[in-house]
């Protein structure tokens, strides 16, 4: 492995194609043995939600995800890493976020994808506002303490 993996980071309004993103990492290569993909979708909260509006901090969103991705590349032997985060108005059932981690073996790919998502949740500058199905504007989604704890576990010595 060359060790010179440059993560692909995209912050965009448009949807993404999960299969195309996986193919983009693996096409023409015979050294990748594992690809772990996580996609996060917008839920309708039992019909209560008509959309989520994602606000982001342009510039910092790319920079912060870049920092998290660089740490993942340092920590695990990855052969490819793609992170896409959407912003703007997103309807239930639509994609919000994608992490694709490729490695020789599954463990590194699983752990890196997991690490990326835990850190994205608590450190990437995005905020979700709810639009309700009855036409009214809902509130801002509150951060969950559990997400902070999920990120903290990566700073503790691993078993």
């Amino acid at each position: 492995m060359s060790g010179a993996v440059v993560p692909a980071i995209r912050i965009q309004r448009e949807d993404f194609d999960v299969a195309a993103e996986i193919a983009g990492l693996t096409r023409g290569r015979a050294d990748i043995g594992a690809v772990v993909t996580f996609s996060g979708l917008c839920r309708d909260e039992q019909g209560a939600l008509s959309a989520l509006e994602l606000e982001h901090y342009p510039g910092m969103a790319e920079a912060e995800i870049g920092r998290i991705a660089a740490e993942a590349v340092e920590r695990w032997p990855l052969q490819g890493l793609t992170v896409i985060h959407r912003h703007g108005k997103i309807a239930p059932g639509e994609n919000i976020v994608l992490v694709v981690a490729a490695s020789s073996h599954r463990q590194a790919a699983f752990e890196a994808a997991n690490f990326l998502m835990d850190y994205l949740k608590s450190r990437a500058p995005f905020w979700k506002k709810e639009h309700l199905a009855d036409g009214s504007q809902g509130g801002w989604v509150e951060a969950k303490e559990a997400d902070d704890h999920a990120a903290d576990r990566w700073t503790k010595p691993r078993e």
């Binding site: 985060h85 949740k121 608590s122 500058p125």
Partner: protein, 85 residues
């Protein structure tokens, strides 16, 4: 030297603007000092920064703690805990 302040999510809504240029008084050294000073600038700021502990801050697009010095900051962003992913 003026500093650009940027607000996001409910901090932006409560303050009523997305950003502004301010001249910071020289006695403001840390992020905590800045939050205290901003809070005294009017009802909308008081409302947005009522609980300063929950406010997250980035200087020049990097996360910082409330004890961080702000000398030389071009851009300081204030926002609620993040809910991406």
């Amino acid at each position: 030297m003026s500093t650009k302040l940027i607000y996001f999510a409910w901090v932006r809504e409560r303050i009523g603007k997305p950003d502004e240029e301010v001249e910071l008084p020289s006695e403001i050294e840390t992020v905590a000092d800045l939050l205290r000073w901003l809070k005294s600038r009017g009802e909308e700021y008081e409302n947005a920064l009522q609980y300063p502990d929950v406010i997250r801050v980035a200087i020049n697009q990097e996360h910082v703690g409330h004890r961080e010095k702000i000398a030389g900051a071009r851009e300081i962003a204030l926002f609620p805990p993040m809910t991406g992913g």
